[in-house]
């Protein structure tokens, strides 16, 4: 693939997956690392690794793998260069107030709080599930079998329900 085409495809990949990546980063960011820092790191790793993308899985699945691995490594402090990095000028984060935002944000914060009570393994599975990924895709990303994911999801669903239902009332 020539350089121009590579950049064009990559731009499209980033554009399509921007919000998915950011949502995952928001779950894994642990102070002083902010979701914005993690998001930037995921975009960088996608750009860096894209040449090695072999097309064995869909590009979306591949992006999720990178996002999950980068975010997990950061949370577990596995990266020696785990410090906050300089923000890119090309990525602007500007919160915009919207109608009904308070209620949506409140519900989202409840969900985040409940996800935070899960263990690392369950967290990785639920964030992919909430992104509407099938058990098959989650299995490809995590390296577990589809059956195993199904069993785990049953338990996670139960935990999440028990946590979030009282908050939503």
């Amino acid at each position: 693939m020539n350089r121009q085409k590579h950049d064009f495809v990559l731009e499209a990949v980033i554009k399509v997956n921007t919000h998915k990546i950011f949502r995952i980063c928001s779950i894994y960011a642990v102070s002083p690392i902010e979701p914005q820092d993690l998001f930037q790191e995921v975009v960088f790793q996608i750009w860096k690794s894209y040449k090695s993308f072999k097309g064995k899985s869909s590009i979306d699945t591949w992006v999720y793998k990178i996002a999950l691995n980068v975010c997990f490594r950061s949370k577990m402090k596995l990266d020696k260069s785990n410090a906050k990095t300089e923000r890119f000028d090309s990525i602007h984060f500007t919160p915009v107030a919207k109608e009904n935002e308070d209620l949506e944000q409140e519900r989202f914060q409840y969900l985040k709080a409940c996800i935070a009570t899960l263990n690392e393994s369950d967290t990785s599975i639920i964030v992919l599930y909430l992104e509407d990924l099938s058990y098959k895709q989650i299995a490809v990303i995590t390296g577990l079998s589809e059956n195993h994911i199904a069993v785990k999801m049953k338990r996670i669903r139960k935990k999440l329900l028990a946590c979030i239902t009282p908050k939503m009332k």
Partner: protein, 221 residues
């Protein structure tokens, strides 16, 4: 119904307008970050090997310059040891699994654990490859060090010490030899302690965390 509701909450949590990416400028930013990363890797490699290169050059010069036979042999052995350290560190780096973020989550953390265990092994064996050899060579160096005037060895530094009446600072007398030897042993005990501490405080907790996640992934199979 419950699940769809959760998915909706999840997706509406962050709105599209919250951030924008200038894709044309992003490429420049990414290239800039890549360049910075490459520079820092090069700097790290130079620092790692730099100390050994400096040691090789210094002890080669000493082996050539110093007239005392035992000290000369110690210098040559120290040079060989520095070469071994470079080889050992390079081999250790080569044996590590590359960080491939496109692997599955499980494979990625399993690789990470393997790399950390290898690091633990390297640091835990510091006594045998990083401490004992140079301590032995340093002791030979010190014990073999004689009186420069007996060997008619008067380089600039020795002349300076003689002029300032400070030749006694060299490991010529038994007392000074013992002081130097104990100093070296003390320093190397500190090196061992630092490495053991890095294993205990940094690596082992990370390995335990990875083990926990692996066992969480494996359960209910």
């Amino acid at each position: 119904m419950f699940e769809q509701e959760l998915k909706d909450i999840w997706k509406k949590g962050y709105q599209e307008e919250d951030f924008k990416i200038d894709l044309s400028r992003l490429k420049t930013d990414l290239k800039g970050k890549m360049d910075t990363l490459k520079r820092s890797i090069r700097r790290r490699d130079i620092t790692e090997i730099g100390a050994s290169i400096f040691g090789i050059l210094s002890f080669s010069y000493l082996a050539y310059e110093i007239p005392f036979p035992a000290t000369k042999i110690a210098c040559i052995l120290t040079v060989l040891w520095f070469v071994y350290v470079i080889f050992k560190l390079k081999k250790n780096k080569k044996q590590k699994q590359p960080i491939d973020l496109s692997l599955t989550f499980r494979d990625q953390i399993t690789n990470e654990k393997a790399n950390m265990l290898q690091e633990v092994k390297l640091l835990n064996t510091v006594l045998y490859w990083y401490v004992i050899p140079p301590v032995i060579f340093n002791v030979i160096f010190i014990w073999g060090f004689g009186n420069p005037t007996d060997f008619d060895w008067t380089p600039w530094i020795i002349e300076k010490l003689v002029d300032n009446n400070k030749l006694d600072l060299l490991p010529i007398s038994l007392l000074m030899k013992l002081l130097y030897v104990f100093g070296i042993i003390g320093f190397n005990v500190f090196v061992i302690w630092l490495n053991k501490r890095a294993v205990k405080k940094t690596l082992m907790p990370l390995i335990e965390n990875i083990d926990t996640v692996i066992s969480q992934l494996e359960d209910e199979k």
